[in-house]
Structures are given as structure tokens and as C-alpha cells.
């Protein structure tokens, strides 16, 4: 990236040139990538707390054997909506928020390519979330089939399922619009001199993620539409009595569902690739192989869906193919981990909160990767399929993977977003509470799974009691520490600790080198030249 002097002068006045609406109208009608990014991030945090409350209700019920607080039907609704809310309401919108804030700033663009469509992408997400969460209050209660929505179970349930399907449709439309916007922005609006292989890795990972979204969202939309017609219009896509096959839903769902995992994790790779070099004060090791590894992971993600279905009774050839393909993903993922560690090697490291969360990400995401490798081995998967081992595995990937990277990114860019420094001591406290709470909550779930405790059960046999109690205690520590995070962000916005234009010694992308803190309302009116 270029190392020209920060362009203060040119920004300070132009922020006042164009009056923009204030108050409610500003947020409703905004086409500014920063406003939309902010909306996405706050929305995602609200959904994160909503889904978190559901998780804590689940853990409260599982604190002891027996039914204490919930009835089984409501318990199933909670596990279902918790999953949907966290995937579609919390993690994905958070990454879109990052994309909106950062992509134009990192490639030297004035805004996103389609600002009006950008506004639409966000405002579609809100009614979808309302549909999803309010389905708890309709007759029959929220969808209670697990977030995978497998038929025929889902066919038995009430109006809430139709609301969920509609919500998924709307969210898919929003994601596709967002992806088109991101791809167009990246391919067309880069500053002069910024070739693809000079783009920051966060931009690269989002480019690949956007293609994944465009490839799989229509598949999900198709599968839930088939559910809808099975429910109401007499079709039999998934009903054997009419010539259909319930297994077909699984194939279609997981053809979407496995790339979806990488949609949630690839932007995290980008964020970590920005933070580790900044705090090691050393360039990222193996930039090119990082790009190739990301692309390989994305491509492989399309041919491994069957590993979610080893127990449906597929033929040996199918089991072997999906086992080998799944194991292969460990290779590019390993390359990424090695590259990050090589970046740290012989650096000059400091350990501010973003770096702590990045190191937490590395270690814990690797544990999730290893348990993923264990699950890839078909015979082993069969003995722990749909047990708590799987629950532990994907929470290691999605919480200590995606979510910790989101935290790292928020702390890293808060000075640029708000113009203020967050409280470092509180940030570190948030990290340690999160990392301890998370591990106490989810590590024991590996043991529960190995001992044979199925997931999605409201009550359990007595030999599972001890680890469940430990897990619930961890979940409460982890859950309540997130209120501290809320406080830290609000305190940062209101504080008077002015952030430097580049508060991090080692950060070298355009938003740090060419923009003041806070970044002005309109970013680059004249594109910077990248050498």
C-alpha cells in the first residue's frame, strides 16, 4: 500500500460541503456506506443478545437433569431459533457491517457501487428478523425442528414455519443484493494502482465470500420453497408417499449449509490477517498463499456437504468421497494457520485487545478445526453424529472463530470508526472473561458427546449431569461478559480519548495511512494512488 501523507486537509472541509439528513431520516434513508455499516453492526449486536438469551434459557434448563423451566416443545423452538438468529441475524450481518465500513476505505473508493441498493439490503434484514423472532408468539410456537428445518418434522408444525421460511427468503434476497454490491465495488472501484494481488486480505476474503453467497443462497431459497409447497400446495418433494425423498432435502440444504459455514468464517480470516501483522509489526507472511488457500477452501466447501449426512445410509463410495474431500480442507486451513504464526515469528509483538482476540481465535479455532477433522473420519462421525461433540465442534468454529474475530475487528477499527480509543483495561477484561467462559461452556461438551449425549434434548440421563452443570456455568459467564462489551463500545463512543489517525504502529492499509480518525462521512472523493 502506498505510504503518502495522511490527507487531512482535503477531508475536514468536504464533510461540511454536502448537508446530509440528521436524526431518524438519516438512518432510514441513508446511502452512506458508513451509516449502513453502523446499522448492520448494531442490528447484529441486538440479534446476538437475543440469540444469547435463548442460549442461556437452554443452558438454564440443562443445568440439572429434569424439566425445571421449559416444556420440551418450547425447548426445541429455542434451539431452532437460537441457531437461525445467530447464523442469519448475528454473524452474517456483522460481517456485512464490516464489509460496508471497510471495503470502500481499504480500496480507496468513495462509497459502495450501488448505494441505494445498499440501503435496501439493510432494511430487508429488519422485517425478516422480526418475522423470525415474533414466530414465538403465534399459535403452536416457533419452528421446533432444529435450524436445519428437516422434513417431515417441519411439515407437522404451524404457521411459524411459514414465517421462518419467509424470513429466510427475505434474508437471502438481502444477502444476494449485498453480495452483488460488494463484488461490483471491489472489481470496479479500486484506487488506481491497486491490483487484485495488492488488495488487503479482508477485501479478498469478502470477494470470495460474496461469490459463495451468490452461489448458495438461491439453493437455500429453493429448498425452503419446496418445503412451503409441500406444506400448502400438495407437492411431495420430500414425502415418500408421493414419490419424494426426505433425504433430498438434506442434500439440498447442506449444499447451501456447508459453504454457509465458510461464509461465516472467511471474513474472519481477513480480519485476523489484518490484525496479526499490525501487532507483530511485520508484513503478513505468505500473502499469495493466503489468497490461494482462501479460494481453495471456498471451492472445496462445495463438495463436502455429505459429511453432515453420514448416518442417512449413503453407499460406501459416497461416504469415502465425502470423507476424503472433507479431510482435504485441513490442508489450506493449515497453511493459513502456519502463515499467521510465521507472521508472528520474529516480530515485535504487543498484546492489545485486538491481538488478544486474534491469538484466542488462532488457538481455539484450531481446536474447532481438529474436532472437525475427527468428525470428518466417517466411522468416528457415526458414533458421535448429532451428539454434543458436534455442538462443541461448531461452537469452537463459530464462536471462537467467527465471533472472536468480530470482537478483534471491532476493537481494532473502533478508533477509526468513532475517533476515540476504547478502554484498554476493560477490553482485556472482556477478552479474558470471554475466553474463560467460552471454554468452560463448550470444552466439556466434547466429553458429553463422546459419552453419547444427543443434541437438542431438553433433559438427559444422570451420567451427563456433571459436565452439563459445568457447561451451563461457563455459558452464563460468557453470556454476561457480553454486556461488558456493550458498555465498552458505548463508553468508547462517549469518551474524550481522541484516537490518533493511526493508533496502531504496524497498520498500513489505506484507512490508516490516508484517513483521519474518525473517518470522514464521505471517504475518498479523489482516489488515492497505490504504488
Amino acid at each position: 500500500m502506498s505510504a503518502a501523507a495522511p490527507a487531512h486537509d482535503h477531508h475536514d472541509d468536504h464533510a461540511h460541503d454536502h448537508a446530509h439528513p440528521a436524526g431518524l431520516k438519516r438512518w432510514l434513508f441513508t446511502t452512506n456506506h458508513k451509516d449502513i455499516g453502523t446499522l448492520y453492526l448494531w442490528f447484529s449486536f441486538a440479534m446476538f443478545l437475543t440469540g444469547g438469551v435463548m442460549a442461556l434459557l437452554i443452558r438454564a434448563e440443562l443445568f440439572q437433569p429434569g424439566l425445571q423451566f421449559l416444556n420440551p416443545e418450547f425447548f426445541n423452538s429455542l434451539t431452532t431459533v437460537h441457531g437461525l438468529v445467530m447464523v442469519f441475524g448475528a454473524i452474517m450481518p456483522a460481517w456485512v457491517g464490516f464489509a460496508n465500513w471497510l471495503i470502500p476505505m481499504q480500496i480507496g473508493a468513495a462509497d459502495m457501487a450501488f448505494p441505494r441498493m445498499n440501503n435496501w439490503s439493510f432494511w430487508l434484514v429488519v422485517p425478516a428478523a422480526i418475522l423470525l423472532v415474533s414466530s414465538f408468539f403465534v399459535p403452536g410456537g416457533a419452528a421446533a425442528s432444529g435450524w436445519t428445518l428437516y422434513p417431515p418434522l417441519i411439515i407437522q408444525q404451524g404457521i411459524s414455519v411459514d414465517m421462518t421460511i419467509l424470513a429466510v427468503h427475505i434474508l437471502g434476497a438481502s444477502s444476494i443484493m449485498g453480495s452483488i454490491n460488494i463484488i461490483t465495488t471491489i472489481l470496479n472501484l479500486r484506487a488506481p494502482g491497486m491490483t487484485l494481488m495488492k488488495m488487503p486480505l479482508f477485501v479478498w476474503t469478502w470477494l470470495i465470500t460474496a461469490y459463495l453467497l451468490i452461489a448458495v443462497m438461491p439453493v437455500l431459497a429453493g429448498s425452503v420453497t419446496m418445503l412451503l409447497t409441500d406444506r400448502h400446495f400438495g407437492t411431495s418433494f420430500f414425502n415418500a408417499a408421493g414419490g419424494g425423498d426426505p433425504t433430498m432435502f438434506m442434500h439440498i440444504f447442506w449444499f447451501f449449509g456447508h459453504p454457509e459455514v465458510y461464509i461465516m468464517i472467511l471474513p474472519a480470516f481477513g480480519v485476523i490477517s489484518a490484525i496479526i501483522p499490525a501487532f507483530a509489526r511485520k508484513p503478513l507472511f505468505g500473502y499469495a498463499s493466503m489468497v490461494y488457500a482462501t479460494a481453495s477452501i471456498a471451492i472445496l466447501s462445495f463438495i463436502v456437504w455429505g459429511h453432515h449426512m453420514f448416518t442417512v445410509g449413503m453407499p460406501a463410495a459416497g461416504q469415502l468421497f465425502f470423507m476424503y474431500a472433507t479431510m482435504l480442507i485441513a490442508v489450506p486451513t493449515g497453511v493459513k494457520i502456519f502463515n499467521w504464526i510465521a507472521t508472528m515469528w520474529q516480530g515485535s509483538m504487543t498484546f492489545e485487545t485486538p491481538m488478544l482476540f486474534s491469538i484466542g481465535f488462532l488457538c481455539l479455532f484450531a481446536i474447532g478445526g481438529f474436532s472437525g477433522l475427527v468428525l470428518a473420519i466417517t466411522p468416528v462421525d457415526i458414533t458421535i453424529h448429532n451428539t454434543y461433540y458436534v455442538v462443541a465442534h461448531f461452537h469452537y468454529v463459530l464462536v471462537s472463530g467467527a465471533l472472536f474475530a468480530i470482537f478483534a475487528g471491532v476493537y481494532f477499527w473502533l478508533p477509526k470508526w468513532t475517533g476515540h480509543m476504547y478502554h484498554e483495561g476493560l477490553g482485556k477484561l472482556h477478552f479474558w472473561l470471554s475466553v474463560i467462559g467460552f471454554n468452560v461452556a463448550f470444552f466439556p461438551q466434547h466429553f458429553l458427546g463422546l459419552a453419547g449425549m444427543p443434541r437438542r434434548i431438553p433433559d438427559y440421563a444422570l451420567q451427563f449431569a456433571e459436565w452439563n452443570m459445568v457447561s451451563s456455568i461457563g455459558a452464563f459467564i460468557f453470556g454476561f461478559s457480553q454486556l461488558l462489551f456493550l458498555y465498552i463500545v458505548i463508553e468508547c463512543i462517549r469518551s474524550d480519548r481522541k484516537a490518533a489517525d493511526n493508533p496502531w504502529e504496524g497498520a498500513d492499509t489505506l484507512e490508516w495511512t490516508h484517513l483521519p480518525s474518525p473517518a470522514p462521512y464521505h471517504t475518498f472523493e479523489t482516489a488515492p494512488v497505490v504504488k
Partner: protein, 388 residues
């Protein structure tokens, strides 16, 4: 070693926060009881140790760097940022490790999928929420349901039964198999997808409505192996345990004889030709209203209580009340049709699998229990007629 260290660390932490009696902090797969399960067990530990070794090596290097190369210790940053040789090496080595893992796993997969030449075949049909076992050669067929009393589960009602050791893992009729014989399972489902999961035997297989999938196991030694439904199947998903008892072949033969004696003659003859779609009993027998009600209460407790509750109040709106229901107090033909055919797109399945007498009893019971006072009885012959 590592296992124990970790176990002790977590154990003491857990005890400090929540002292519980009879702690069972298991950290391992349950002891395998079949050849396949033993292979799975060994595979799991082999792969886990490889993962642990890689983790220690890689993150050992990272923590060394974190400790040595920190700014606070005066480290100056080097500026290297790529090295093709190193990058190729750490692509190839993991690939070779994966091949090493895939080889034994492949052998196990091929063995698991080979269900040929069984000594015994049992057809397993999953229902919301019971398992039906049909011994195709031996002509034995029965349902297997959760045996834990609901009073132990529903603590919110403070019924206060003490939980027994096999809480939620006990059934009324366990599957019984002979030790050392290859048992082939044909698994299907009547309503939604369920999962027949007994980890110690190395079996976890979905039952998918409309399809029959097979798997197999051989129990090594006599014993009692427990499992649960592994795929979410609605509200009673947590209450669908599986118990397999492995007996010596002689004991098994005795058990089959005993089971056959218990079954109605006609049923045994019927099952022998393996076409027992409808359990036969004596549909021409005339029952008194009181007999029907008394028997119906038992049938209700075994088949209906999970959704409609002992009180008949149900769990509305998903599971409607029977007490005061228009269907139950209206014309009996309509109720009979609903019970026989189920209600599409709801959890109300067809109960045609119950015998004519069972259906007659349970319908009579519901029409006269709680606040329902129709005073009507329905005879098995009427059920038999309605089946056609």
C-alpha cells in the same frame, strides 16, 4: 496422562464451583462392545493423539514466539514475508498425515457397510415416540417405549419422585440379541426422521420414512447397551431411549420362546409370514364398557399421554386437548377415522399399527374420561370394519 491431568484440573474447578455428589466426569467414548465400535474407538484415539501432537508443536512455536518476540522484551521485527520452500513443505506434510489417517478409516468404512450374511435380521420402525422391533425370522414383534415415569421428569409439577439410576434410559421392552451373532437391522420410520443410536455397538443410523436403510452389529459380550434417538423428532425427542440386551444364544432362544408364548396365536402365525401390517387379535370378541375403559386407560398411557397429557388437557395449541374436544364428543366414526389415518401435516400420526381391541379401548376411554361423558363404547369389530 494428558487426559488425566486435564480431567483433574476441570474436576477440581468444577467441584469448587458446584459440589455434586457421585461425580461422573467421563471424558472418553463409552467402552466399545462390538468389533466395529472397537475400531472406531481406536481410530478416534489415534487421530486425537495426532491432533494433540500437532497442536502442541504448532502452538508451542507460537507461544515461544509470543514470549520471545514481544516488543516489551525488546524484540525488533524482522521483515521477511514469504518463503516458497517452507510454504510447500507445510502443504505437503499435512497432506501425507491425512493419507495416514484415511487408510485405516477407509478399511473401517468398508467393513461397516458390509451387512451381508447376517445371522439374524430385525426390522426397526421408528414412531413418534416409540421403537418397534420386528424379528423377521423369529416371528417376534413388539413396541419399545420410555419406561421412566413422567413424575420423575416433570419436576415443575413437584411430583417429587427420586430419579433412578437409569433415568430416561430405560424402556418397557428392550431389544434382545444373541451374543457373537451378526445382527442386521433394517431401519425405517413411520412419521419423521429418527436416529437409532447405540454408541457402544457402533451403530447410528437414521430411520427415514418411506425408505429402508440397513446396518449391522455384533455384540461381543453379554450385557445391556443403551442409546437414544439421535435425530430431533419433535417434542418427545429426548424421551426415546434404546436398550439392547445381548444374551448367550441359549438364553436368546429361551427369550424368543417366551415372547412367542406371550403373543396372541393369530399374531404369531401372521408374523411368521412377515406380513403383519395389522396386529391381529380377536376382533369379534364383545367387550363390556368397563373392560374397554380399563384397557383404554393403559393404551392411552402408552401411546397418547406424551401429547394429550394424563389430564386430557393437551399442550395447546400444538397438541389439542381431548377433554371437551369436538372430535372426541362428536360422532365416533369421525374420531375413529382420525385415529386410524392421523391428521396430515400435524404430529397426529396414524395409529393403525395398534390392534383393533387397543384402538376400540382407547377411543372408548377418551370418550368417557375427564369431562367427556358420552356414555358410548366402541367394539373392536367396528374398528375392524373401519379399517377397510
Amino acid at each position: 496422562m494428558l487426559r488425566n491431568t486435564f480431567r483433574n484440573a476441570v474436576l477440581s474447578a468444577a467441584l469448587a464451583t458446584a459440589a455434586t455428589a457421585n461425580a461422573a466426569y467421563d471424558v472418553d467414548i463409552l467402552p466399545p462392545a462390538s468389533p466395529i465400535a472397537r475400531q472406531i474407538y481406536d481410530l478416534h484415539w489415534a487421530i486425537l493423539w495426532v491432533c494433540v501432537a500437532i497442536f502442541v508443536l504448532v502452538f508451542g512455536a507460537m507461544f515461544y514466539s509470543v514470549f520471545k518476540h514481544r516488543k516489551a522484551a525488546g524484540a525488533k521485527a524482522a521483515q521477511f514475508h514469504e518463503n516458497t520452500t517452507v510454504e510447500i513443505i507445510w502443504t505437503v506434510i499435512p497432506f501425507l498425515i491425512l493419507i495416514g489417517m484415511a487408510y485405516p478409516a477407509t478399511k473401517t468404512v468398508l467393513e461397516m457397510k458390509d451387512a451381508s450374511n447376517p445371522d439374524l435380521t430385525i426390522k426397526v420402525t421408528a414412531y413418534q415416540w416409540a421403537w418397534e422391533y420386528d424379528y423377521l425370522q423369529d416371528g417376534v414383534k413388539f413396541n419399545s417405549l420410555l419406561a421412566t415415569p413422567r413424575s420423575q421428569i416433570e419436576e415443575w409439577e413437584k411430583k417429587g419422585d427420586k430419579k433412578n439410576a437409569d433415568y430416561l434410559l430405560e424402556v418397557n421392552n428392550p431389544m434382545v440379541v444373541p451374543v457373537g451373532k451378526k445382527v442386521r437391522l433394517l431401519i425405517t420410520s413411520n412419521d419423521v426422521i429418527h436416529g437409532w443410536y447405540v454408541p457402544q455397538l457402533g451403530v447410528n443410523q437414521y430411520g427415514i420414512p418411506g425408505f429402508v436403510k440397513d446396518t449391522w452389529f455384533t455384540a461381543d459380550k453379554p450385557g445391556r447397551y443403551r442409546g437414544q434417538c439421535s435425530q430431533i423428532c419433535g417434542k418427545e425427542h429426548g424421551y426415546m431411549p434404546i436398550v439392547v440386551i445381548a444374551k448367550t444364544p441359549d438364553e436368546y432362544a429361551a427369550w424368543v420362546k417366551e415372547q412367542k408364548a406371550k403373543m396372541p396365536q393369530a399374531e404369531a402365525a401372521h408374523a411368521a409370514v412377515a406380513a403383519a401390517a395389522v396386529p391381529a387379535d380377536d376382533p369379534n370378541k364383545k367387550w363390556t364398557a368397563d373392560e374397554l375403559k380399563a384397557n383404554g386407560e393403559k393404551v392411552f398411557a402408552a401411546n397418547c399421554v406424551a401429547c394429550h397429557q394424563v389430564t386430557g388437557k393437551g399442550l395447546p395449541p400444538a397438541f389439542p386437548p381431548l377433554d371437551g374436544s369436538k372430535v372426541v364428543t362428536g360422532p365416533k366414526a369421525a374420531q375413529l377415522a382420525l385415529v386410524l389415518h392421523g391428521k396430515p401435516n400435524t404430529a397426529m400420526a396414524s395409529f393403525a399399527r395398534l390392534s383393533d381391541s387397543e384402538l376400540a379401548s382407547v377411543i372408548t376411554y377418551t370418550r368417557n374420561a375427564w369431562g367427556n361423558k358420552t356414555g358410548e363404547a366402541i367394539q373392536p369389530a367396528e374398528v375392524k370394519a373401519a379399517r377397510k
